[in-house]
Symmetry: C2
Subunit: 210 residues, 2 copies
């Protein structure tokens, strides 16, 4: 089954995979109903999402868990990409150490920083290089994804350097809005947006109780 996969669905696929992998249940099969309950989603939605990447559901029992995991891994891993990270501060270190990525076919291969105390060391098993080496290392390895975990003052200039070195997609954790050429993909990670939603939901729930 190879339908067009919507953005909303795409965001949920890693969630399904994670849920399947981390669930301690022993059954050979797993149903959309089960997944839906576990994740707090609609069962039809789950079924529809899964239908977009596989077609192995069996009535009454659901999906063969092993196969479903394989299909999800294959789909998500198909976009296997290596990335570099700039800014080995706390957030940068947290990301370098984050184990979840590799499960989804994603790997941060190196970090860059200006701090001499960090350069040459390994953080979470990943080598940290000087920012001055960024260009040639990215070129040599053919990396296409760059992660920015720097204070916002440095975000734009770093983005420019990354793009100059051949980076095609930037995952920006700084609150700066960076300007890039048309053909470069940027995803801004805005903590405050997430929080606004949480806060709003809390308010709604609280008010509903009155």
């Amino acid at each position: 089954m190879t339908t067009v996969i919507s953005k909303a669905t795409l965001q949920r696929l890693p969630v399904y995979l994670n849920c399947l992998k981390s669930a301690a249940d022993t059954g050979e099969y797993v149903s959309a109903t089960t997944l839906a309950n576990r994740l707090g989603l609609g069962e039809v939605q789950v079924r529809k999402d899964l239908a977009s990447i596989c077609d192995a559901g069996k009535p009454k029992v659901g999906y063969l868990k092993k196969e479903l995991i394989a299909v999800l891994e294959n789909y998500l891993g198909a976009d296997m990409n290596d990335a570099v990270l700039v800014g080995v501060g706390h957030l940068g270190t947290a990301l370098l150490a984050y184990k979840g990525f590799e499960e989804y076919g994603f790997k941060i291969v190196a970090g860059f920083d200006v701090n001499p105390a960090l350069i040459g060391t390994k953080v979470a098993g990943k080598q940290v290089f000087s920012v001055g080496e960024m260009d040639h290392i990215i070129r040599r390895l053919g990396i296409r994804i760059g992660i920015i975990t720097l204070p916002k003052e440095y975000a734009q200039e770093t983005a420019d350097k990354l793009i100059g070195a051949g980076i095609r997609a930037i995952w920006n954790f700084s609150p700066a809005y960076i300007t890039v050429p048309e053909n470069i993909v940027v995803k801004n990670e805005n903590m405050a947006s997430s929080l606004a939603v949480l806060s709003k939901q809390l308010k709604e729930v609280t008010e509903a109780e009155k």
Copy 2:
């Protein structure tokens, strides 16, 4: 203007605020067109979003920047909330130190950890307490939001403790899916989902070039 504000709009409001605050432009007014271009959004969308919380746009020039910022701050800050964070590792530290939150009326007031080396110290100016003190501190301060930045093994038990202490909303950065009573709000922050979207976009752009 007090329309119903959609979830999608709500997520963009902090983005507008951030953009307004960080932009180095000097003008007294700012137009939806300008914001849209800067953020890569549709101008009608921006206008519609803004219309849901204010009604001060002037033709030809746009919105009074100062007023727009005030309105946004007021709206977002209206849900002012204090939070505690459990798990003062790298990610936890990064969040404790993140300055962006306070701009949106949000404040992490304390951290909790089990590491004796951390307990009693301050991280980014925030006191770190023992997890054993969690219950009474949360109760005493009447905190309603808890942030979990722990390995997934501890996520569920921590969530239970937080809820027991009176927490009503949980922002979960661990990849575990936690089960909570109906009236508790949970927001799972899934890095892999963000990444999947970025990766997919990159793929699309790359393919479009062929």
